[in-house]
């Protein structure tokens, strides 16, 4: 009885493996929202931030950047740049990965293009 159940479950498992591989083979929607904005800041964002903050900055592992909370927490550009540079908790220290220009560009992109959407 148990053997029959396990045999059938293994067939289900095999089907689910095939389904998962099929879903993985579909390209991810990386080129949406933020990624389609033609700016250097957006490029830096796509290359470094989407993994945690989502393709459109809507959040994922990291918090949403489009909710408007970012502008409340970091009142100006310098404060945002300092946070991105130094990191905190799970937020990596980007000063060791990006140039000051890149951090400035992505700061402008996040503040002007993403955070401002949240009102």
């Amino acid at each position: 009885m148990l053997k029959r159940i396990v045999d059938r479950l293994q067939i289900v498992a095999l089907a689910l493996v095939v389904l998962t591989i099929g879903m993985l083979s579909k390209a991810g929607p990386i080129a949406t929202g933020a990624a389609t904005v033609d700016s250097f800041g957006a490029e830096v964002f796509v290359a470094n931030c989407t993994r945690c903050h989502g393709a459109d900055g809507q959040g994922g592992i990291g918090p949403s950047l489009v909710s408007g909370n970012l502008l409340d927490r970091f009142e100006d550009r310098a404060a945002t740049m300092a946070f991105i540079s130094k990191g905190e908790g799970e937020m990596p220290d980007f000063a060791s990965r990006l140039s000051a220009g890149e951090i400035g560009a992505v700061t402008d992109f996040v503040r002007k293009e993403l955070a401002s959407q949240g009102g």
Binding site: L2, K3, I5, V6, L9, Q10, V12, A13, L16, V17, T20, M23, L24, A27, G28, P29, I30, C49, T50, R51, C52, H53, G54, A55, G59, G60, I61, G89, E90, P92
Partner: protein, 195 residues
Amino acid sequence: MSNTMTREGRTGRPSPIPLPLLGAAAAGAAVAIGAGVYGSVHDPTGQQTISLFFSSTLAFKSWVTTLVLGLALFQLFTALRVFGRIGIPKEMPEWLGEAHRLSGTIILISTLPVVYHCLWSLGFEPDVTDVRRFTHSVLGCVFYGAFVTKIVAVRNHSLPRWFLPTVGGIVFTVLVGIWMTSSLWYFTTVEFPGF
């Protein structure tokens, strides 16, 4: 003389490596490398996927991985009993072998939504200075490679007796590493229980 006997066997000819052993190892290596390559070339979407009734995909993954670790402990226990390495229970229940298969199948099914999010949403972390993520990425690929090797090996009775327990041990050890670099990190760094 004794050295020759040990290394080359009684006939003096080198002991051939069984072809099925190579096949099982090659299948596992192909899966591990395939997962790593996919995770590297695919643009991570950064999006949440399945979370069921949990607060986030990460919380879901942390608890599923913990469940899988529990099932893996059960697998270890049942395997040790089936191979006669432990004597508990004294009389082996008839269903123990099937229970071992069942838990292994549930492990495979349970990990699918987890690996889907890992590969599709996060990708492979190539930065070795990000020790946790890099280690987790490597172990994740090795886990599926070893898992496939074990599945192939378990159905082949011509393999050396040491092969299956060894691969099973690798699967278990790698899984512990995966849990430590994901669930344990989440529970100790982000939140616990984090439902």
